[in-house]
């Protein structure tokens, strides 16, 4: 952004607008299986972001001409609710939403064993209820949890976060303000236990050293998010176990 900066993104103690240190994530909460009709679902709260993801499938693919004979097709719909941002967003699909749908699908697809379900479709619906920067990465994080909850075979979960540059300093997990007025934004998604990256975008300028350093920070943050994903998926089964053991 070439605008003159109206906002000071880092204070004199090196803290950010929401009081975080540069390498600190926003508070994160993931909940699994909240939708009954969907095969798998997840809800994520990352700072002020609130996103709900529903996964259907593998199921019969309609219309028939989209089917692929030897594997499943993955369809992804990223949508922002009209009330998700300060000024009402038109409820239809904007250019940005269509693009993000594609980007998210391509970040998730490498993790899915699509060849196990020929001629079927896996549908991922992402509804952003409240947005405050980093919705694409939060969506990927939640969608992979919802896919796992649907019982779809995955190579690994996909975990995502963004690296940004504000006032020349690298920071992790940009919020809306930092995204808007910062000098760079680099979303990264990876399969943590395999160590493979499935999404890497960047806008703004990053030097070689900054990239290396940023990637390291991102991998660290992704490990933290991964633990939350893992815990969210296991929680339900552990809770039932506890309940049963207590009743005995």
């Amino acid at each position: 952004m070439n605008l003159k900066k109206p906002v000071k993104l880092l204070d004199e103690n090196g803290l950010r607008t929401d009081g975080r240190r540069p390498d600190e994530l926003r508070p994160l909460k993931i909940q699994v299986g909240l939708l009954k009709n969907a095969d798998g679902s997840a809800y994520i709260e990352l700072g002020k972001n609130k996103i709900i993801v529903a996964v259907y499938g593998p199921r019969e693919a309609h219309p028939r001409h989209v089917v692929i004979p030897d594997r499943a097709i993955v369809r992804c719909r990223y949508h922002m609710a009209p009330f998700s941002v300060d000024e009402r967003k038109s409820p239809g699909f904007s250019r940005r939403e269509i693009e993000l749908s594609k980007v998210i699908r391509e970040a998730l697809e490498p993790a899915i064993f699509i060849e196990e379900f020929p001629r079927t479709a896996i549908d991922i619906f992402i509804e952003v209820l409240e947005a405050d920067g980093g919705t694409r990465t939060a969506s990927i994080t939640a969608a992979s949890v919802a896919l796992a909850d649907a019982g779809i075979p995955l190579k690994d979960l996909v975990t995502a976060t963004a690296i940004g540059k504000i006032e020349g300093k690298l920071v992790i997990d940009l919020n809306g303000l930092e995204d808007q007025y910062g000098e760079g934004d680099m979303p990264i998604a990876m399969m943590p236990s395999l160590g493979q990256i499935t999404l890497l975008q960047a806008d703004g300028r990053f030097s070689g050293e900054e990239f290396e350093e940023g990637l390291k920070m991102a991998i660290n943050a992704i490990k933290k998010i991964y633990r939350v994903q893992k815990e969210a998926l296991k929680r339900r089964y552990i809770e039932i176990s506890k309940e049963v053991l207590e009743s005995e």
């Binding site: 593998p58 199921r59 019969e60 019982g151 779809i152 995955l154 943590p192």
Partner: protein, 231 residues
């Protein structure tokens, strides 16, 4: 050669299970001699040699020879389309219902099986390139006329059967009901007493919910004696 997990542990996709040459069974994949889980499931380690992964959720994938419970959703000229609770809908041709030769023009298929009818059928053929083919031309197959239908996650059907049929026998003997188990996650309970049928449904739901916790058969036994005493 190391195993990273304990028996009965809940694992998630991508979780490393072991490193080395282990025998394995279930939704597991290997990369450079490392074993990873593909799904949320429970691991079983058999005397440090074999690793089995039992999934906790998943869709039913048709297999030749499986007995399934299906619902008629469409009638065509030469057969029916059947929903078998799977990503593929099944086809039941007239030739697999009637043994005599038929005249497609004269025959009204809806008089034999109508939309909404439930059937117990067997999968005759399935190879992923075409929709599964069903038959009801064997004994114990055919239209369902009585009983209660329960639907559970297909991957938990083995729990309802139990080791060598222990669970199914327990339900049959304690509640005096007959069970027809479709591999596609649908179970038909037939009993003389509607109350017994309802209890069987409750027990099956309990099995589905608590399938991952050890001591299931005993718990179901206790549960059934408790509800029977309360009668």
């Amino acid at each position: 050669m190391t195993i990273y997990v304990r028996s009965k542990q809940v694992v998630i996709p991508g979780e490393p299970l072991a490193r080395g040459r282990y025998e394995y069974q279930g939704p597991i994949y290997t990369v450079r001699q490392r074993l990873y889980s593909k799904v949320i499931g429970i691991v079983e380690v058999e005397d440090k040699k074999k690793i089995t992964l039992i999934p906790l959720k998943g869709k039913y994938m048709p297999r030749e020879g499986d007995v399934v419970i299906g619902k008629i959703v469409d009638i065509g000229l030469t057969g029916w389309t059947v929903d078998i609770n799977s990503p593929y809908k099944a086809v039941l041709p007239v030739s697999e219902v009637l043994s005599r030769p038929t005249d497609a023009v004269k025959l009204d298929l809806s008089k034999i099986l109508d939309i909404g009818d439930l059937i117990v059928a067997k999968i005759l053929a399935f190879d992923y390139t075409r929709d599964p083919l069903l038959t009801i031309k064997e004994s114990k197959l055919g239209k369902i006329t009585k009983g209660t239908l329960v639907e559970i996650t297909p991957v938990k059907i083995p729990r309802v059967i139990g080791k060598k049929g222990s669970m199914i026998n327990l339900l049959k003997s304690m509640l005096n009901v007959e069970l027809v188990i479709g591999k596609n996650g649908r179970i038909l309970v037939v009993g003389d007493d509607p109350l017994m049928e309802a209890w069987a449904v409750m027990a099956i739901k309990k099995i589905e919910r608590e399938a991952h916790i050890p001591g299931l058969t005993n718990r179901i036994k206790k549960f059934l004696s408790k509800v029977k005493r309360g009668k």
